[in-house]
C-alpha cells in the first residue's frame, strides 16, 4: 500500500512538471484563475500530452507483462514478439486502401493484422521442440524483420514510404486535442487486463497445469493476445513505436513483486507511465526549446536498463553455482 502511494505521488509530481514545461508560456495560477491563454494551452496541448504519455506507458508495459506471462519468457514484448511490426503492416494497408486520414481504419487493420501475426508467432513457438530462453525472442525478432521488410517493399511500391516513416519513431510532439483520443481505448483494455490477470498467470503456468485448474487455456491466451494487439495498435496509430518499455518494466516489477500478475499489475502500469513520463521530460529539456523524439530517449535509457538486468541475471546464476 505504501509503495502504491509513493508511485501515485511520483506520477502526480512528474505530471505537474510535464504540464508546466513547454515553449508556450503557461502558469498554474493563470489556469486556476481562468486566464484564456493558459486554459487553452492546458486543454489543447499539455493535458492531452500528459494523458497520452500515461496511457502509452501503462499500455505498453501491461502488453509486455501479458505477453511475457503467456509465453513464459521474460525477453518477450510487443516489440520483440513482432506485434509492432505487424501493426505497421496493418497501418500501411490502411493507407494504401483509404489514404492516411482514416484513423479508425488504420486502427482496425493494425489490430487485425497484429493479432493474426502474434498468433502466428505463438503457433510457431508451439511447433518448436526446443524453446530455449533466447530462442523465443529470436524467433519473434526474425519474424518481425521479415514482416518489416515486406512492409518496406510494399511502401516503396505504392510510394508511401515517407508516410510510413512517422510510425517508425514514436513521438508525443504532435499530440494535441483531437489527435490522441484513440488512446482512450487503452483504458478499457487495461481494466479488462486487470480482470483477466489471474487467468493469464494460470495460463503462464503451462497448459497442463492450466487445464488441471479448469482454465480454458486457449480462450485465456486469445484474450491476452487480443488485449495486447488492441493496446499496441492504438498506441502505434497515435504515437508511433517506442521500444523497451514493454520489455524492461515488467522485468523490474517481477524482481520486486514476483509474477502473480494480479498483484503486480498496478505497479507495472504505474512504473511504465513514470518511466515514459521521465523520458519525455528529458526529451523536452535536453535541447530546449527543441525536442528529441521519445523513441530515442526511451530507447537509450531502456537499453541501459535492459543491459543492467541481463548482467544482474548472469550474476545471480553464477552466484547460485558457486554455493555448494
Amino acid at each position: 500500500m505504501k509503495k502504491k502511494l509513493i508511485l501515485i505521488l511520483l506520477l502526480f509530481v512528474l505530471g505537474c512538471i510535464s504540464v508546466s514545461l513547454g515553449v508556450k508560456a503557461f502558469s498554474w495560477a493563470g489556469l486556476l484563475s481562468g486566464q484564456p491563454a493558459d486554459r487553452s494551452v492546458f486543454w489543447l496541448s499539455r493535458l492531452p500530452r500528459l494523458i497520452s504519455i500515461l496511457i502509452t506507458g501503462a499500455g505498453l508495459s501491461i502488453s509486455g507483462l501479458i505477453l511475457q506471462t503467456i509465453t513464459g519468457n521474460k525477453f518477450v514484448s510487443p516489440a520483440v514478439a513482432g506485434t509492432m511490426d505487424w501493426c505497421r503492416l496493418g497501418i500501411l494497408l490502411a493507407i494504401i486502401l483509404a489514404g492516411s486520414q482514416q484513423t479508425w481504419l488504420k486502427l482496425l487493420l493494425a489490430f487485425v493484422v497484429s493479432l493474426a501475426g502474434t498468433l502466428l508467432f505463438l503457433t510457431l513457438l508451439r511447433q518448436l521442440s526446443y524453446q530455449g530462453t533466447y530462442m523465443v525472442p529470436l524467433i519473434g525478432l526474425m519474424l518481425g524483420l521479415v514482416v518489416s521488410s515486406v512492409t518496406s517493399l510494399i511502401a516503396y511500391r505504392f510510394d508511401v514510404a515517407q508516410n510510413l516513416q512517422s510510425w517508425l519513431q514514436g513521438s508525443f510532439s504532435l499530440i494535441i486535442e483531437g489527435r490522441y483520443e484513440l488512446l482512450y481505448l487503452g483504458l478499457p483494455c487495461l481494466l479488462l487486463a486487470y480482470l483477466y490477470a489471474a487467468r493469464f498467470t494460470v495460463a503462464g503456468m503451462g497448459e497442463a497445469t492450466a487445464v488441471n485448474l479448469g482454465l480454458n487455456y486457449k480462450a485465456a491466451t486469445l484474450a491476452g493476445l487480443t488485449l495486447t494487439a488492441l493496446m499496441t495498435s492504438a498506441i502505434l496509430v497515435t504515437v508511433g513505436s517506442i521500444a523497451f518499455v514493454g520489455l524492461i518494466i515488467p522485468n523490474l516489477v517481477s524482481i520486486w513483486h514476483g509474477d502473480h500478475i494480479r498483484h503486480t499489475m498496478f505497479e507495472t502500469a504505474a512504473l511504465g507511465s513514470i518511466f515514459l513520463l521521465s523520458c519525455d521530460l528529458i526529451s523536452r529539456t535536453l535541447i530546449y526549446p527543441h525536442e528529441i523524439p521519445i523513441s530515442v530517449t526511451a530507447g537509450i535509457i531502456g537499453a541501459g536498463v535492459f543491459l543492467a538486468l541481463i548482467l544482474r541475471r548472469r550474476r545471480r546464476v553464477h552466484g547460485k553455482r558457486q554455493t555448494p
Binding site: T69, G72, N73, K74, A197, A198, R199, T201, V202, G204, M205, G206, E207, A208, T209, V211, N212, L213, G214, L215, N216, S254, G258, D259, H260, R262, H263
Partner: protein, 252 residues
C-alpha cells in the same frame, strides 16, 4: 469412481495405451508401475483430460469425461505432472493459492485462505510460505506443488512421478503425505512411481502396465512376488520381507 473402457492412444503407429479397461478402487493409494514407455503417464494424462484420447470411454463418477465442465471437474479431480522449471516467479503461498482457482477464479475468499493455511500446515511449509519458488531446493519446490494440489481439495488426485530427482528424505516425506491424504482425508491418490520399494511400503493397490496394456493388478502384497514382477519388468527380482513389507532386491 473412475472407470475406463477400451481406451486407446496412439503415437504414430504405436499404441501407447492399448485397449485399457479399468475400474479404479476409491479411497486407496494406487500405484501405477511398469517400465519406461509402458504407458503409465499417458494413461493418467488421458484420465485427467490433459491429453486427448483416440478411442474408448472414460467415466468419472458415472459421467463421461467429455460431459464434464472443465472447471467443475477441477474440483473433483487433480493432477500433478512432472514439472519443467516454472518460468513464473511465485511465492509458495501464491502457488498454493492457485489450487483454489477452480473455486474462486483467482479472487480468494476468506474460506480459500483457510484452505491455503491448512495445506501449507499439512506440508510444514509455513516458514517458507513467502519465499519465491526459484529460491527453494527441488524437494521444497515439489512440496509446494503438492500443497497446491492439496488446496485444490479434490477426491481424486493423480501424481506423475512425484519422486523424480528427489532425495530420500523428501521422497519419504511426500509418500507419507500421500498416505495421510488417503487415510485422514479419504482421498483416492493415484501415483506413477518407478521405485518399487516405495510402492511396496506405501501403496494399497497396484496396476502394472506393459506395452500399453494392463498386465496385472491387485492388492500390493499380492502383486509383489518374484513371478509377477518378472512378467512386468523382464527382470529377476528377489522379494524379502523386512519389517512386514516385501522388499525387492534387483541389484545383480
Amino acid at each position: 469412481m473412475i472407470q475406463t473402457k477400451s481406451l486407446y492412444k496412439h503415437y504414430g503407429q504405436t499404441a501407447v495405451v492399448n485397449d485399457v479397461s479399468l475400474q479404479l478402487p476409491t479411497g486407496r493409494l494406487i500405484a501405477f508401475i511398469g517400465s519406461n514407455g509402458a504407458g503409465k503417464s499417458t494413461l493418467i494424462s488421458l484420465i485427467s483430460r490433459t491429453l486427448a484420447k483416440d478411442e474408448g470411454q472414460i467415466m468419472i463418477d458415472q459421467q463421461e469425461l467429455e460431459q464434464w465442465k472443465s472447471q467443475k471437474l477441477a474440483t473433483r479431480l487433480s493432477i500433478l505432472k512432472q514439472q519443467n522449471a516454472l518460468s513464473l516467479r511465485l511465492t509458495v503461498r501464491e502457488l498454493t493459492g492457485f489450487g483454489r482457482y477452480p473455486y474462486s477464479r483467482g479472487r480468494l475468499t476468506p474460506q480459500d485462505e483457510v484452505k491455503i493455511d491448512q495445506a501449507l500446515a499439512y506440508l510444514n511449509l509455513e516458514a517458507l510460505q513467502d519465499r519465491y519458488l526459484d529460491e527453494l531446493s527441488g524437494g521444497q519446490r515439489q512440496m509446494a506443488y503438492i500443497a497446491m494440489l492439496l488446496a485444490q481439495d479434490t477426491d481424486y488426485v493423480f501424481l506423475d512421478e512425484p519422486l523424480n530427482n528427489l532425495d530420500m528424505k523428501h521422497s519419504v516425506q511426500i509418500m507419507q503425505v500421500l498416505r495421510r491424504m488417503v487415510s485422514d482425508l479419504r482421498k483416492t491418490v493415484m501415483v506413477v512411481i518407478h521405485d518399487i520399494n516405495f510402492v511396496s511400503a506405501y501403496s494399497d493397490y497396484m496396476i502394472a502396465l506393459k506395452d500399453g496394456q494392463v498386465v496385472c493388478q491387485g492388492e500390493t502384497a499380492e502383486v509383489i512376488t518374484p513371478r509377477r514382477l518378472k512378467a512386468i519388468f523382464d527382470l529377476d527380482i528377489e522379494v524379502h520381507e523386512i519389517n512386514g513389507h516385501p522388499i525387492c532386491v534387483y541389484y545383480n
